[in-house]
């Protein structure tokens, strides 16, 4: 009997199959423009929002928006945000969230400042900061993952707790690192090249590497699967908890680098360092087109989201509106982006 059936296994629907004969499967991306658009519709949507927003601003005030300084000043601070937005895309894709990154930024950059102030090379400081970031990310991740806590609230708690520690020890004192400007580390990480702030190159490299990690690396593949269906992932032999902890560690690393870059911009560490990034960074991730339910996301979109959010304030002021309009536009852009992304984020179950 099984003999008689064998041909069917090879060709159980021979008749229907003929219709698609000769058609080989191709990656949608290889279908040219249409495939590219389909594959990247979330990030392209974000880009569209950004372009529309900039167009409105430009029409309001063409002269300012054709000045390079405007862009170069955004490019100075944007990298700091990018270094956290991108890892957060991983966290959100993994079905978690991390609100503790501001304190991690503060903590890691504190270590950096301490090392530099003690007279060591800033490179050593950066290494120490990244190590701190890894440790804190591991701590937060382990608490959430092995403690089985809701990451939204647990990381909020950790943010308070870590910031509290900084405050208790420092009693509010900031550190000025005026010597930093002459160090080679500063030249490499924070100077200008032909009027372009170098930090943006580092940030772009980070974004590109992360996007590849997200789309072309086992880590990204596993993050997506874990965020999509953790039960399946563990049934398929993926160590779900480890993957989850890893994304928190990744945020720790990103936050540490962000913290160091932030200190290098103006040679000062504040005990509040990082706090101001909580809401803009969060907003960037979601404005960028990563949905809240996990499993899918876009690194490029998140980066564009960060650019968009960075330009809101600047644009509002450059367009000649009073600063009171900034919050309003922040809200407006968030809502409009979410509405826009509704159309390209189908949620399957």
């Amino acid at each position: 009997m099984s003999k008689a059936m064998e041909p069917d296994l090879q060709n159980p629907f021979g008749d229907v199959r003929a219709a698609v004969e000769g058609k080989e499967w191709r990656h949608p991306a290889s279908h040219g423009l249409r495939g590219f658009v389909l594959d990247n519709r979330a990030s392209l949507g974000t880009l569209a929002v950004f372009i529309v927003m900039m167009a409105v601003f430009m029409i309001a005030n063409p002269t300012v928006f054709t000045t390079w300084y405007l862009y170069s000043s955004v490019l100075t601070t944007l990298p700091v945000a990018l270094f956290v937005v991108v890892p957060l895309v991983f966290v959100v894709t993994c079905g978690e969230i991390d609100l503790s990154f501001p304190a991690t930024m503060g903590f890691a950059s504190w270590v950096f400042a301490l090392v530099v102030q003690a007279g060591y090379d800033p490179f050593l400081g950066i290494a120490a900061a990244v190590l701190t970031g890894i440790l804190l990310g591991f701590l937060v991740g382990s608490l959430v993952v092995y403690g089985g806590l809701s990451s939204l609230i647990a990381t909020l708690g950790m943010n308070f707790l870590l910031r509290g520690l900084i405050q208790i020890i420092n009693e509010g004192k900031s550190m000025a690192l005026t010597g930093l400007a002459n160090s080679p580390a500063y030249k490499i990480f924070s100077s200008q090249v032909y009027g372009v702030p170098v930090q943006i190159f580092w940030a772009i490299a980070f974004v590109v590497l992360s996007a590849m990690l997200y789309n072309r690396h086992r880590f990204g593949a596993q993050v997506k699967v874990v965020g999509d269906n953790p039960d399946s992932a563990s049934q398929m032999g993926i160590d779900v908890k480890r993957v989850r902890v890893k994304v928190f560690v990744f945020v720790g690393i990103g936050a540490a680098i962000a913290g160091c870059f932030s200190v290098m911009i103006n040679f000062t560490w504040w005990p509040t360092a990082g706090d101001g990034y909580l809401l803009p960074v969060l907003a960037s991730v979601f404005v960028g087109g990563t949905p809240t339910w996990g499993g899918i996301g876009t690194v490029a979109g998140g980066a564009i989201g960060a650019v968009t959010v960075s330009f809101i304030q600047t644009g509002v002021v450059a367009a000649g509106l009073s600063g009171f309009y900034v919050q309003f536009f922040n809200g407006l852009i968030i809502i409009l982006s979410l509405l826009g992304h509704k159309w390209n984020q189908a949620r399957y179950r």
Partner: protein, 265 residues
Amino acid sequence: MAERIIELRDIKKSYGQVYALGGVDLSVDRGEVVGLIGDNGAGKSTLIKILSGVVRPTSGDILVRGRPVSGWSAARSRDAGIETVFQDRALAVQQTIVRNIFMGRELTGFMGWLKVNKEIEEASRLMREIGFTSKVFTPHSIVGQLSGGERQGVAIARAIYKQAELIILDEPTTALSLTETAKVFHFVRQVRASGRSILFIGHNIHHVFEIADRFVVLDRGKVALTTDRSAVKSAEDLIHFMEDIAHPGGLPGLREASAAEQGAR
């Protein structure tokens, strides 16, 4: 006797106060199809989850090709050549077919970077093998867009990749139509013919009887019967046996219902 691929000895498992398994022995030889049957809650899924390393037994030993193993896990089970199609299919529905097929077993090269083209090729080959070319989807289709039967197909494709030694199918025909069921049967026979083993779980005893070489009946966490196909005359014998163990005193309603079912055939 054929090589023994895997053996479970005196496996016990309790969830809190619920005793799902109370000392089960089970083994699968190369090239045989073992049918695992039992009532709802008998512990079938729990047993195969232990086999596939997803659930850790409370006590008992696991032997792979005669050698006892420790630290049994889902990853190690797959490394040992055991693939499972779970009852809930274990698919990540927002991911592509490729990503589902290679879930937890990504084809990677240098430093964990994915071999994307290789994966696509392999996925295409697998899907063609189980007869999936007829549809308009590609290896990049999102699993969430597929129908139930098609999703089952992806799960099966994942299982047959890598020429696993033992494939476990937990109620693969549940909620499938005749056409789709026939496809699964195809596949099971195909695998047996190629000398690999299958552990088949099902509620439809006729289905199981049709396909298995050996039957294991689980009842409330214990093996109630292990028998070769040759020792059983017909599916009805099995059904009677199962009714008897379920309700030793005999349950008139049940007997009638089942009689009615048989009568209709």
